[in-house]
């Protein structure tokens, strides 16, 4: 036994806790999703069994791992939810609305408990929620009351009823040869290196029998031990056969706590008699609950590192291509062709690799949507409004990094919609609207971007009020007409808020200015549509590809710039003589109509060389909002690695980021949306 170093132990435990939090996150995400699905099935005669099974498994696991870290509030909550789910699975009760509510409240509280522990804050109270859960669970037979007395003793049949043989073996375990063992395991770094840790021990124990209890115990000198109580009919040689040091076991003779007497009655009453279950043979591996799934949990930082490495590869390949080009004269045509082919093949493979890694980072937007579902319920209940939430396109995938950054801003928009946008049922009916307000969250992949919309059919943004407030703050002149874009500008101005009281629903922490800044920092755009009495819609457009993009390289006054290819509709060559002046603007004939022109040199205060006979233009936007941006020369198209520019000293309008073309010189990337804005403001 070697955990003598207290620092080692506490470090170990800290790592263990991190794993616990990560696992909780995963299970709670699954729980949230399933509870929403469950809600839809309230009142149905037959509730989807697979759903109940999955929820049961989640709560069972949450209970187990919470016990392992000694977070008993979480353990208790999970236990009660598990009990209710058990009853539901065994069709001892019909799913009721209150039941789902209680489960949702339970899951929320569980989440809060874990979060509180994580942030070292006092834990929220759980008695009220537990009472609710007990109430719904005790709506039926007394069996579940018996359940509540013994810890995990009655747990069985974690797989769907289809796995009969397994259930049979489980029953067999509770037969006459079953014994209760107290097993103690003290982890050490040496064992951990071999892959032997408390989770693997727990897994083994569950393979051979029924894990009744699991809890940690802190001993002197910071040593930690884990105690398990397991019911198994396996011979004690099984423990020895694992060859784990620091694993001690001893039979437990008391029958009460082990709950063995209750086991047979549970089995008899609730399970059909098993024909083929072979009594007490080899340990049956437990399938779904502990089986390593085909999913790997990956640190986002590692994926960032992968992307960075790919970025370096892209640059190296570009350099290679440059060198190859210069070699052309020195090698034979055949050799050069071979070299070219290989280089091109590498380019293709790199692109595939890049796309592969990007896919790994993608998660479904649904993750955020589900969280919002709970927020909306709470807010609706608090404000007494009736709200239907419509979620569209939740399978749309976006980069995990975007999910992390956008969760708070999107939450803010949703809160705003519920608090300010949607009216109460009475107000709505008085206006001839349906009593239930509708909030729609929609996600869609469009080209190289992902679109996220938050729309409500409420009262729309009060332009008059916003204008009045803006005037009072000196932001606009009198009687200025406000279109949606101007409205957005105003409400996103720092410190601008039309509510005097900061109500719980919104107005604190994240403001509209932070929302817009976050969106723009991610290279995206936010826009607003609102109509008085009809509703409001916020649309956030975010680029899918964070790191690598196709770009057009242009030259102005001897300086190179990069323009994201996705923003460019077309490139054309224009003769200076074709340019016509119209007041302050320049236009050129274009596709049967005219195209307004803006000169990049002018926008950036660079030298504008006018004596050329012809110059190049790249067209952004389309239709009536098409705009031509004039440069000296369009040099070509390149794949670039996008690097952010975050220091305030160099955050200027019109520049979205920077890249390098292989010669270690910084090339600035243009912000097309801002260019358009500057052109408009001239």
């Amino acid at each position: 036994m070697s955990t003598s170093d207290p620092d080692n132990s506490s470090e170990f435990f800290a790592q263990f806790l991190d794993d616990y939090y990560a696992e909780c996150d995963e299970h709670l995400t699954l729980v949230r999703r399933n509870l929403l699905a469950l809600e839809a099935q309230v009142g149905q005669a037959q509730v989807e069994q697979a759903l109940l099974d999955e929820l049961f498994r989640s709560f069972h696991t949450l209970k187990g791992i919470s016990a392992m870290v000694g977070l008993s509030a979480a353990e208790q909550l999970a236990h009660h939810m598990e009990s209710y789910l058990r009853a539901l699975r065994q069709s001892e009760t019909i799913l009721s609305a209150e039941g789902v509510e209680a489960l949702i409240a339970g899951a929320s509280t569980l989440e809060q408990v874990v979060a509180a522990r994580r942030n070292e804050l006092p834990l929220p109270g759980i008695t009220a929620v537990v009472a609710r859960l007990e109430a719904v669970a005790s709506d039926f037979s007394s069996k579940s009351a018996q359940d509540a007395l013994t810890d995990d003793a009655g747990g069985k049949g974690l797989e769907p009823d289809g796995a009969k043989a397994e259930a049979g073996a489980r029953d067999a375990v509770t037969g006459a040869t079953a014994r209760t063992w107290r097993v103690e395991f003290v982890p050490t770094p040496a064992l951990a290196e071999r892959g032997v840790n408390v989770n693997s021990v727990r897994a083994r124990l569950q393979e051979i029998g029924e894990l009744v209890q699991a809890k940690p115990q802190v001993r002197g000198k910071g040593e930690i031990a884990f105690l398990f109580v397991v019911v198994t009919d396996a011979d004690e040689s099984v423990f020895a056969s694992w060859g784990i040091e620091n694993l001690t076991f001893a039979p437990v003779e008391e029958t009460a706590t082990a709950g063995s007497p209750t086991l047979p009655s549970e089995t008899a009453a609730a399970q059909e008699p098993e024909p083929g279950g072979a009594p007490g043979t080899e340990p049956v591996p437990q399938s779904r609950m502990l089986a390593p799934s085909n999913v790997v949990r990956v640190d986002l930082a590692r994926l960032d590192e992968l992307m960075r490495m790919i970025g370096e590869l892209v640059i190296s390949r570009a350099r290679l291509e440059g060198h190859l080009g210069r070699l052309k004269k020195s090698v034979s045509a055949a050799e050069w062709r071979a070299l070219q082919e290989t280089s091109l093949a590498m380019g293709r493979q790199l692109r595939d690799l890049r796309e592969g890694v990007m896919r790994v980072r993608m998660v479904q937007v649904g993750e955020i949507f589900e969280r919002m579902q709970f927020v909306v319920r709470d807010l609706a209940r608090e404000s007494g409004k009736r709200i239907t939430l419509e979620l569209l396109g939740r399978e749309t995938e976006i980069d995990k990094f975007l999910v992390e950054r956008m969760t708070d801003p999107l939450m803010h928009l949703v809160r705003n919609a519920v608090s300010h946008g949607l009216e109460t049922a009475d107000e709505r009916v008085a206006q001839g609207k349906a009593a239930e307000g509708k909030l729609t969250l929609r996600a869609a992949a469009v080209g190289e971007s992902v679109l996220i919309e938050i729309a409500d059919d409420g009262r729309g943004i009060d332009k008059g009020r916003v204008a009045a407030r803006a005037q009072a703050k000196g932001l606009i002149g009198e009687r200025e007409a406000l279109d949606d874009a101007a409205l957005l500008e105003l409400i996103c101005a720092p410190g601008f808020s039309t509510r005097d009281e900061a109500d719980r629903g919104s107005g604190r922490g994240v403001g509209m200015d932070v929302v817009r800044n976050t969106v723009e920092e991610l290279g995206g755009r936010i826009s607003l549509e609102t109509e008085s009495g009809k509703g409001t819609r916020f649309t956030v457009e975010l680029p899918l590809t964070l790191a690598i993009a196709e770009a057009l390289i242009v030259s102005v006054d001897g300086q190179k710039f990069a323009v994201p290819q996705s923003a460019v509709q077309e490139v054309i060559e224009v003769e200076t003589s074709a340019v016509k002046a119209l007041e302050n603007n320049e236009i050129i004939p274009y596709r049967g109509g005219v195209l307004p022109l803006v000169r990049l040199a002018r926008l950036f205060e660079l030298n504008d060389v006018r004596e050329r006979a012809a110059f190049h233009v790249f067209v952004i936007g389309s239709g009536s909002s098409a705009l031509g941006v004039a440069v000296d020369r369009i040099i070509g198209q390149r794949e670039i690695v996008v690097r952010g520019i975050s220091d305030p000293l160099v955050q200027v309008a019109g520049i979205a980021g920077a890249t390098e073309l292989g010669d270690e010189r910084v090339v600035l990337i243009l912000d097309v949306a801002a260019l358009r804005q500057s052109a408009a403001n001239r």
Binding site: L603, D647, L649, A653
Partner: protein, 158 residues
């Protein structure tokens, strides 16, 4: 009286004939000045951006920042990249090649008589063997709010 632990290593650089010091724990690297890409519409003191360790970093022209005459870059010019307060910023100086440990006791407060903004950029003045080293207040130097060029000791809108 001054213990070893009261001395702190500094990197010294020259600007318009005066010696300044920066605490070396804030200095990420010192490079020659190469390939500075100008950033349109940035303030005058910002020479542009450069790549430093794979990151795009702004390069401040300290001469402009402190109101001195601009001087062309030569082989002795250096870019001192500092990392402080979560920001990485480069400063272009005339030359930089000395490391020196300066005891805390040798650093005194800048005299009240220093007028204008210059006093703002200094944390203190070190007196060593009749040599004066002006200790920079990095956070003020790189603060965007101070992006105004100094003319005759008075701020002028950029």
């Amino acid at each position: 009286m001054s213990k070893q632990s009261d001395s702190e290593p500094f990197i010294l650089f020259e600007l318009a004939g005066t010696t300044y010091g920066v605490r070396s724990r804030f200095v990420q690297q010192v490079e020659m000045v190469e390939h500075v890409t100008p950033v349109p519409n940035a303030s005058d003191a910002v020479e542009g951006v450069v790549f430093a360790r794979g990151q795009v970093v702004p390069a401040l022209n300290l001469r402009v920042r402190f109101g001195f005459e601009k001087a062309p870059f030569d082989l002795r010019s250096r870019l001192i990249v500092v990392n402080t307060g979560g920001r990485v910023v480069g400063m272009i100086v005339d030359t930089a090649r000395e490391f020196l440990s300066i005891p805390a006791a040798a650093i005194g407060a800048p005299p009240e008589a220093l007028t204008g903004l210059s006093g703002k950029y200094l944390e203190g003045i070190a007196t060593l063997d009749r040599r004066l080293v002006l200790i920079l207040n990095l956070d003020e130097v790189i603060d965007i709010a101070n992006t105004q060029t100094v003319v005759d000791g008075e701020p002028e809108a950029a």
